[in-house]
Structures are given as C-alpha cells and as structure tokens.
Assembly symmetry: C2
Homo-oligomer: 374 residues x 2
C-alpha cells in the first residue's frame, strides 16, 4: 500500500507536529487544510487555480456524488480524479454527516441509514459497506468510515448508544474495504463525554486499527470551549504515529488552536462559502466587501497577500463586482480566501519547523482578539 | 491622435476586408468580435482568461457603469482599464440601446433621455454631451454617440423623426468630444427604410465625420432577411476607409454573412449568455449540455477545439456541473463559447488573407444548415 504517514518534526514548545502523508496521488504536508469540493468541484474555482493557491488535498462529499452524478458513472469515467481534472490527493467523507444534516429525512437502524435525497426526495439506503463501495468507486486517496454524528446536546445514554453504532459500523467498514491503495480513517464519536471519547479511541485504534483518526461530532452547536476541551483531551489519547483529522473545523483561530493539540488535518467550507457571501479574511481584519466605505477604496484587499486578487484589483472593484452580482466577484473572492487559508497553513508549518509554534499561536490569537475588539 | 484604421487586405471573392485598428491600448485585428463586459467584467471570466482566449477588444456598457459604480469613481480610480484590470482596447457603447430597452421607464426629448434606473428606480437624464463625458471619464478607446434606437416596426414618419434626433445628437456628440486619444463612432439609424439609411450615412459621414460607423437598430425583432438587406445596402454606402460596426450581432452564421458585406466589427452577449444557460457552440453542432445523452459521455465538448475546457473535461463532467448548478459550469462553458467565437474570427481573417472568403462563407453556412436540418 502506497499510503504512509510520517512525522517530520515535533514542536518542542507545544503539541504541534509537522508531518507528511504519502498517497497514491502524491504527498501532503501537514498540518493541512482541505478546501471542500462538495460536488466534485471547489466552488467558483478551476482545479488548476485551487492547486496553484497551495492546496495539496481536497475533500469531496460521498453523499453528494453518490446522488449526483452517481459513483458508477464516475468510476466508468475513470474515477473522481480524472472526472474532475484533479491529480493531487482527495479525501472523501462517508456521507454520515450529510445524512445527519438531513434531520427528519433520515432513519437510522443497525444496518445503515435510510434517507430521502435533498434533490428529488427519492429514497436511499447507505450501509457502512456501501459507503466503502462508493468511495472505492470514486477512487479517493483517503476514505472515511460511515458514522453516526452524535447530535448536540445528547444525554450520556443516547451518546453511548450512538457511539456503539459508529463503532460497529467502523468494524464493518474495515472488513468491507478491498482496495489496498486507499487509506481508511476511523471516526471518533462520543459527544461531549470524555469517557465515551476514550472508549471510541480504544476500540478504533487498539481493537480495529485504522490509517488515521478523525474527530467527529464537533462544531455541531456546542460551546466553543467544549469543542476545544474534547479535541484537546481526545487528541492526547490518539496513537501518536497516525494522522489526526478534526472534521469541519474551521475558523482560522480554531485551526491555530487545535494544531497545538496535535491535530494534523482540517476541512471546512468557510473560505469558499464566506467568499461567495463577500466575507473576506485578511491578515489585519475581516472585510465585508459590500460596505460603502470601500466604494472608492483603491487599495488591495490585503496589501500583504500574494494572491491574484490582491495583486490586481482594488477593494472598490471587488465591492462593485459583489454589489453587481457578477460571477467574477465569487471567483476573485474565493481565490483570496483560499489563498489566505493556504498561507495560514504555510505559516503554521514554518512556525513548527522553527520550533516556535506556541509563540506563533499566541501572537496570532492576540491579533485576532485585537481585531475583534476594535 | 493615436487612433487609426487601415485596411490590410481586401478579399477578391467578396466584400470582406482584413483590417487593423490602432488605439491607445494596442492594435485590434478586424473583422473582430467583442465579448461584452456589461458591468466592467466579462461574465464568469477573469480578464487574463478573456485575453488568452484571443480577445483583442471588449465592449463595456456606459449605461450600467454610469449607474453603478458611477463614472466619477472609475475615473478617480484611474479609468476603466485599470479598474477592471484589462489593458487591451475597450469600446463603450453610449447607453442608447440600454435606455431604449427600458421601454416605458424612459422619455425622450430633443435634449436627451429621462429614464428610471433598472436598479433602484432613481431618475436620471442623459444627454449626448453627458454620454461623451461619461465615456471620457471611463477612458475607453472607442466611444459611441448617444442615439435613439428606432423600434421595430416603425412607420416611415416615426423612423424619420427618430433619425432626425439621432443625427442631431451625433452632431452634438462630436462637438462635445474633448479627449483626442479616444475615437468616436457615429451610429446609422433609419429603421428598415433604405432612403433613411442613406440619409443617415450622408449626414454622418459627409457632413459631420466620425472615426468609424456603426449600424444600429438591427437585431431588434425584424425578420433576419431585413437585417441582412439593410446591413448589406447600408454597408455599401459607407466610406471605405473607416471601420464598420454591426451592433449586437450575433450568431456565428450572421457574423460570417455580414463580413461578406464588409462589416469589420461585431459584439454580442450570445457566447457568454448561452454559456451560462448551458448552450454550447461547437464546430459540429450546438450542444445543450443538460441533455441526458451526455450523462456518461467521456468525450470532450468539441474534439477539434483547443480551449482549456475541451482539453481537460468530458461532456459528462460539464453536464454534471451544469445540473448541480456549480459556478465552475459557467466558467468552463464561457471559456469554451468565447474561444469558439474567437476561433471563428481567426478563421474568417485567415480566409480573407487567403483570398477565399466566399468559399469559406458558403462552406460554413452549408455546414450550419446541415446541422440545423439534422
């Protein structure tokens, strides 16, 4: 099997690790942030642009691609990499979180999930085995086990019952896996209960064994402090030599914080979705580009940013495009936000390389606090 | 003044001419097709992409830019070229056609047009002098006189009265023009009446004198044969040494036909708008990309096309993106359609260069007829 993870360097001042993932489609430097290509395209960008912005790994959604265009079609056309013209590594989620998000449109039993498509209301059934089959057809480099995302809030009994299902499905997923070129990650659930998180870690890592471990069921409505506490204590329990992936996180300050806990991988729709809504991340502040104050502002969005948008356009032009609902607004905004996230990850890796991650983190978080209180 | 037009070659088999426009922002080879950048952006494309597809001249809309963001802002920010990051030539229309399209929201008198903004209903007044002032503030390379687009159908008396206004405004536009770096084109109106078209040509070209002449009031609902007849006979009356611009046309077969009459310049939203609606031009047929028959079609949109879209994506992927409403669908489709039009213009110029334009035209139109009757 091609897949391998190595830790390149440990930061002496914190729990941060510099690592490298080896996959059939190339290497990925960690800590890594994955832009999201929900339907087989990072929204508003051509894949070459995504790559040129510094992206080494993207996330695609099994649920969406299963429904449309269908994994058999993608397999017939040579797999997801070829279909979407992306030759670097791809991680696919299992569809668990999307099905969870359907709310009353889904029914879960021991076998799997029955749900209605958000597109046409058609009925579907996904089992742990089918989730693997779909991901093998897509040909992603890293697959995720089907899990049940424990809702928030959940009492101990419900969280425990839900976890039991996730652990059972994890075992079945591992058994179902055929393709040896693809890695498979287990997902740690357990709600806000440290005991359950510990149980999940033990079962997944000691009794079953996966190529990496993801933290699920976070960023689902719980207070930010709970997210941080659960991430911190769960990460400390995980095997040191496998990558750790915090699913669905998130905001730059949360990424910076959780790297300190030892998280290696992140994904979130924030950079792309915020871009489409005109919310832009910069090294100084968050910019709401529609504001009248940018009406005749000739300066770039971020004078310290090296992206195409900042090198070529004024805030006034970006505001004009946004107000005028031009598609180019979404393109230029997305280029900038994705570059901001990729540059952040580069800075994070450099700080670890230099053995000064804690210093970097504190300075970054102070700056963010200052920007918020301004 | 930088502006100059030269005829490089005349096709011996037809009325087609190969020419070159010299402007303050570079040269333009004619016959030329202008993609439309209504609000200061060619929809769905970054300007570098537009340029790389072979575009030498774009059209921007005075009406839209006057309303939003306002020509004073664009002037303050260094003019339209800098504002939109496009360093090649730009032609601006006068706003006459957009105001005409407002229908009951406008009132025309001898002084100019009173109209209500399509954005917020605010009241505005544009005179021939203001239309020049706006275009000088934008800093386009070629400006157009404010005209009244004669509606179709119009009886002789109404068309005559409308023409008188357009001719009066043309004279005032020429007087108002200050900036010597910018060219100014007159617009020939006169409805479907050859006598009026002749009167317009005489007044504009002999009594006033412009840097080029545009045919207006066509493609406004009249039968295609009328459009062709009026274009053919009006073009024959125009001074030979100035560029001739057929406004708002159009379809590939109409471009090919009208080049034979001696037209040098075209603009139309067809390639960009059709792209956004999934209608794609190819060298063999018009493709409606949403059709189920492309569901698992691994072939490129057009195997003979050299564009980024055709080199990298299958019809199945383009269909998927379109059905899934991905923004990338609009980007990839627009790249292809604009490239199709630019390639068509290259073929047209090559055919004239080779002195075989009539042959090219007949073969192109036969192919189109065959595709339609298939």
């Amino acid at each position: 099997m091609t897949y391998r993870f190595e830790i390149v360097k440990r930061d002496p001042s914190s729990g941060a690790r510099l690592g490298r993932l080896y996959t059939a489609h190339g290497e990925v430097n960690t800590p890594v942030f994955m832009p999201v290509a929900t339907q087989g395209a990072v929204k508003s960008l051509a894949p070459e642009t995504v790559y040129d912005l510094g992206t080494e790994l993207i996330l695609a959604n099994t649920y969406h691609l299963y429904l449309r265009p269908g994994h058999e079609i993608i397999e017939k056309l040579g797999g997801l990499h070829r279909f979407m013209n992306w030759s670097s590594p791809i991680l696919t989620d299992s569809g668990g979180f999307q099905v969870y998000s359907l709310g009353t449109l889904r029914k879960i039993n021991d076998d799997g999930v029955i749900f209605k498509s958000h597109i046409d209301g058609s009925k579907h059934f996904i089992s742990p085995e089918l989730a693997i089959e779909i991901q093998e057809a897509l040909g992603s480099d890293i697959m995720m086990c089907l899990d049940e995302c424990t809702s928030y809030p959940a009492n101990f009994k419900d969280a425990e019952k839900s976890l039991a299902l996730t652990l059972n499905w994890a075992r079945r997923s591992k058994t179902a896996k055929k393709n040896r070129e693809q890695a498979l990650f287990g997902i740690i659930q357990g709600g806000m209960y440290p005991d359950l998180r510990l149980r999940a870690v033990e079962e997944l890592s000691q009794n079953i064994g996966f190529d990496g471990y993801a933290l699920g069921g976070l960023s689902v409505g719980e207070p930010k402090e709970d997210m941080k506490n659960i991430t911190s204590l769960t990460t400390a329990l995980l095997p040191d030599d496998k990558p750790r992936y915090l699913m669905g996180v998130g905001m730059p300050e949360d990424i910076v914080t959780c790297v300190d806990y030892g998280i290696d991988m992140f994904d979130c729709v924030i950079p792309t979705r915020c871009a489409r809504h005109g919310l832009l991340f910069t090294n100084h502040e968050k910019v709401v580009i529609r504001h009248a104050r940018y009406r005749d502002d000739d300066s770039p969005l971020d004078g310290t940013c090296d992206c195409y948008t900042c090198r070529n356009y004024s805030r006034a032009y970006l505001r004009h495009l946004y107000i005028a609902k031009e598609i180019l607004a979404m393109i230029l905004n997305t280029i900038h936000n994705v570059r901001y996230f990729m540059h952040l990850m580069e800075s994070i890796r450099t700080a670890i390389e230099d053995g000064k991650y804690r210093e970097f983190k504190n300075s970054f978080l102070n700056k963010t606090d200052a920007a918020i209180s301004r």
